[in-house]
């Protein structure tokens, strides 16, 4: 792996003297690279894109500059359609979240992920079931009992967006536990966490990074994490507790796993050399201390995948989302 990288880097360095060389050995960007964020400024994907922008700039990992462009319209549909409409453009990357699957399914826009070129999975974002710390329920079991005790549809679950990951998890929890929530969609994850602190909703499935500040301040309580295994970050976060002390939902009798993709795609019809350049770039990004800090702050699952393995993972996830959304009745009717 190292030698491969050294060769690539060396070749890139040699080539930059003669950028118009016909050699296919290594390619590098000849103009600023745009990272298309299919979400608004300030969200998880946007933050990650901007951290990468900062890392690339600061560590001089690339000759050209990185530009972050938000295209949030239509639950990110705008961004995906823009990528689709730039075949062969090697200077555009898209960072994705679960709306890669959910937006086309829920809105019926003409887009599918396999119209783009899969580049790399950088991490997976976790989901945690949160409740207000003032509430008496301390375990998933007590929580489910409380939901069941409340009149049907009176127990409020807050989440980001409608027919997106948070609501999918909510529906899955409903199915798994045989309960019914009133799901209230908000625009951003930070807002959802504050609504929970203010007792305007009764529980949320916020990402770790969105709710951690309130957990540390003793306002929120994590009940379980929607991952197959417990988190690896053992540092103390709130009192004696750390991310690794949160049990998995499955172990608490709530059979649901969900992780959100934080990965990159390129435009259709780009060459293998171009893909290789960015894969190499991301490998370098992952080595930096800034990236490692972001990972531990947000308790991310650091799975890294490229190529066929990545494409296969995405295909499996798409099937799963389609099944989950069909079950929940979230698929847009054909017009």
């Amino acid at each position: 792996m190292m030698s491969m990288r050294t060769i690539l880097a060396g070749a890139a360095a040699a080539l930059c003297v003669a950028p118009l060389s016909t050699s296919h050995a290594a390619w590098e960007p000849s103009r600023p690279v745009e990272i298309i964020v299919p979400a608004g400024p300030g969200g998880g994907a946007d933050q990650m894109a901007r951290v990468i922008q900062g890392i690339v700039t600061q560590h001089k990992l690339m000759k050209q500059s990185v530009v972050v462009v938000n295209k949030a319209g239509g639950a990110g549909g705008e961004g995906f359609l823009d990528m689709k409409a730039s075949p062969g453009n090697p200077h555009k990357l898209a960072i994705t979240l679960s709306n890669l699957f959910t937006t086309p399914l829920a809105t019926g826009i003409p887009f599918n992920w396999n119209e783009l070129t899969p580049l790399a999975m950088l991490a997976l974002d976790e989901f945690v079931l949160w409740v207000n710390a003032e509430k008496p329920y301390k375990t998933v079991k007590e929580y489910i009992a409380a939901v069941k005790a409340a009149p049907a549809g009176q127990f409020k679950m807050g989440g980001t967006g409608s027919k997106q990951e948070d609501q999918i998890i909510t529906v899955a929890v409903e199915k798994a536990a045989g309960v019914k929530f009133a799901y209230i969609p908000y625009k951003g994850g930070g807002e959802v966490a504050v609504q929970l602190v203010g007792n305007h909703v009764d529980s949320t499935v916020n990402n770790p990074i969105e709710a951690v500040a309130h957990w540390r301040a003793g306002k929120l309580r994590p009940l379980c994490v929607f991952d197959g295994k417990q988190l690896v970050y053992g540092d103390k976060v709130a009192g004696d507790l750390g991310w690794s002390s949160i049990p998995t939902c499955k172990s608490q009798g709530l059979d649901m796993e969900y992780l959100m993709l934080r990965g990159f795609f390129m435009a259709p019809k780009v060459t293998a050399e171009q893909v290789a350049f960015y894969v190499d770039l991301f490998k370098k990004v992952r080595e930096t201390p800034e990236w490692k800090k972001l990972m531990s702050d947000g308790a991310f699952n650091q799975t890294f995948m490229v190529g066929a393995e990545y494409a296969k993972w995405v295909a499996t996830e798409e099937k799963r989302h389609e099944a989950l959304m069909k079950e929940a009745g979230f698929i847009a009717p054909k017009q």
Binding site: S30, R31, P32, E34, S65, V67, V69, G153, A182, Q335
Partner: protein, 167 residues
């Protein structure tokens, strides 16, 4: 069409324009209502559906447009001009080049089209000498390029020339 009684040249009548505007807003209202029907306009158990508010907004536009059209018929003197043709010609002298500009922009890139727009204005409306025109029309895109693309790192639309230069 009757002769203008105000004598301030010729031009479209204000009443006709008002009725035209009311008709346009009415069509807009109807389109909004039609669009709302597609997503459901009822008040479901958990509150109004996606089309509920837009539907009634469309309905209000439709109804108020009718009132506006009737008021235009009753209250505006038939001879009153909206604007003289001469005035409208000067308005068009901005709208037409700008329309060409916005349509050209995605294809020719922002720098070339902006230079052209500024040059057209300065020569056509301002009758400036070509030296001055050249300085402003080339200078402005340059400033724009450095300000946006280099300093603020905002990519602007580019055309064949920029591609040739490899920018």
């Amino acid at each position: 069409m009757s002769e203008s009684s105000h004598g301030d040249g010729y031009g479209p009548r204000h009443r006709q324009v008002e009725i035209g505007v009311a008709a346009a807003t009415a069509v807009f209202g109807a389109v909004v209502m039609a669009g709302s029907l597609q997503v459901g306009i009822t008040w479901a158990v958990e509150g109004p559906r996606a089309g509920f508010f837009p539907f009634y907004v469309g309905l209000l536009i439709l109804a108020a447009s009718g009132v506006n059209a009737m008021r235009a018929m009753r209250t505006i003197a038939p001879g009153k001009l909206f604007a003289s043709w001469k005035q409208l010609r000067s308005v068009a002298s901005v709208v037409v080049p700008t329309a060409v500009y916005v349509l050209l922009l995605p294809h020719a890139g922002i720098y070339l089209s902006s230079a052209l727009l500024i040059a057209v204005f300065m020569i056509w409306l301002g009758r400036y000498a070509w030296r001055m025109t050249l300085a402003v029309s080339v200078g402005m895109p340059f400033v724009t390029y450095f300000l946006f693309e280099r300093w603020f790192l905002i990519p602007l639309p580019k055309g064949p020339i920029e591609n040739m230069l490899g920018l």
